[in-house]
Symmetry: C2
Subunit: 183 residues, 2 copies
């Protein structure tokens, strides 16, 4: 991950990766048949973690859509804080994947999007969320939270928990939760 | 732009670029001293357009922060619709720039961020926006709008203007504008 972030996937050799990991090139090839497989493993495992964690957070939150959205955004933003490397690689190296790698990534991204949409749609159905545009709202909330990876480190004034709480509050506002219901 | 999108900056040669443009390699070098300069020109000119257009939209909108935010988001989302190539290159090829290119891009990105923050902060001051977190709100609104570039084409069911109107509404919700003030 360090090598891909510093130089980009294309410019990184298996030798660089082996060197950075303190391994021989042969032993890297023992675990991964190609550089593409390493990239795929990084992207797929980080997406899989995120689908698993955010889904669990929603399921643990009870039946209130407001509580579910709180839990979902807290989990999502928590995962993106300190995950600059995965975020950078995920945003910039999709072209490095082959067909099967792209399919795996797309499937997981759609699964992640459905978790957001499911919660927003649930809140609209129960009347907890006033938003007239649940699809765009779900996408917007996911985008706001993911963008935290691009600014969190620059801005050393807030703790992890403070950032999470602010993003939760913003997301509730974007969903159109009544202000008195959010506290 | 086509070549960088299809193959990535690293894998594209000046010969590919010349071929795609129906020019000779020599005439490309007459305009750009290196491939990096072409990348820089793509990124800087698209950021400059966006700073100029969004600033003009805000200044034309009168003194109401709600009207300013509407105009800003409409301009921002309009720029991101159908700009998948610039968005993809901007997100993935920053590593291809040299020091001076990065500085130019960072300066423009900060200028763009200040436009968003200025409008949100103005609305908080006038009491039009209830958000308790103007910085995160400004960043979140920018991120939601920019993400439209990643999904607009997939989703052929909405017109450009419908998407813009939905993103405007979502942004007003995120800023905490009273629902009756937004119509």
């Amino acid at each position: 991950m360090e090598q891909f972030c510093a130089q980009g996937f294309h410019a990184t050799s298996m030798r660089d990766i082996a060197g950075g990991a303190g391994m021989t090139v042969a032993s890297i090839y023992h675990h991964f048949s190609s550089k593409q497989r390493i990239l795929e493993e990084i992207m797929v495992s980080s997406l899989r973690d995120s689908v698993t964690s955010t889904r669990a957070a929603v399921l643990d939150a009870g039946s209130s859509a407001t509580a579910q959205l709180r839990a979902l955004v807290a989990s999502w933003v928590g995962l993106h804080i300190g995950r600059q490397p995965e975020a950078l690689i995920g945003a910039s190296e999709l072209r490095g994947l082959d067909e099967s790698g792209r399919t795996a990534v797309d499937t997981l991204r759609r699964e992640q999007a459905r978790i957001f949409y499911g919660v927003v749609e649930h809140g609209v159905r129960t009347g907890e969320f006033r938003t007239a545009f649940p699809r765009e709202c779900a996408r917007g909330i996911a985008a706001m939270g993911a963008a935290v990876a691009s600014w969190y480190e620059d801005d050393g004034t807030l703790s992890r928990d403070e950032v999470i709480e602010r993003m939760v509050q913003l997301s509730l506002d974007a969903a159109g939760v009544e202000p008195d219901a959010t506290n």
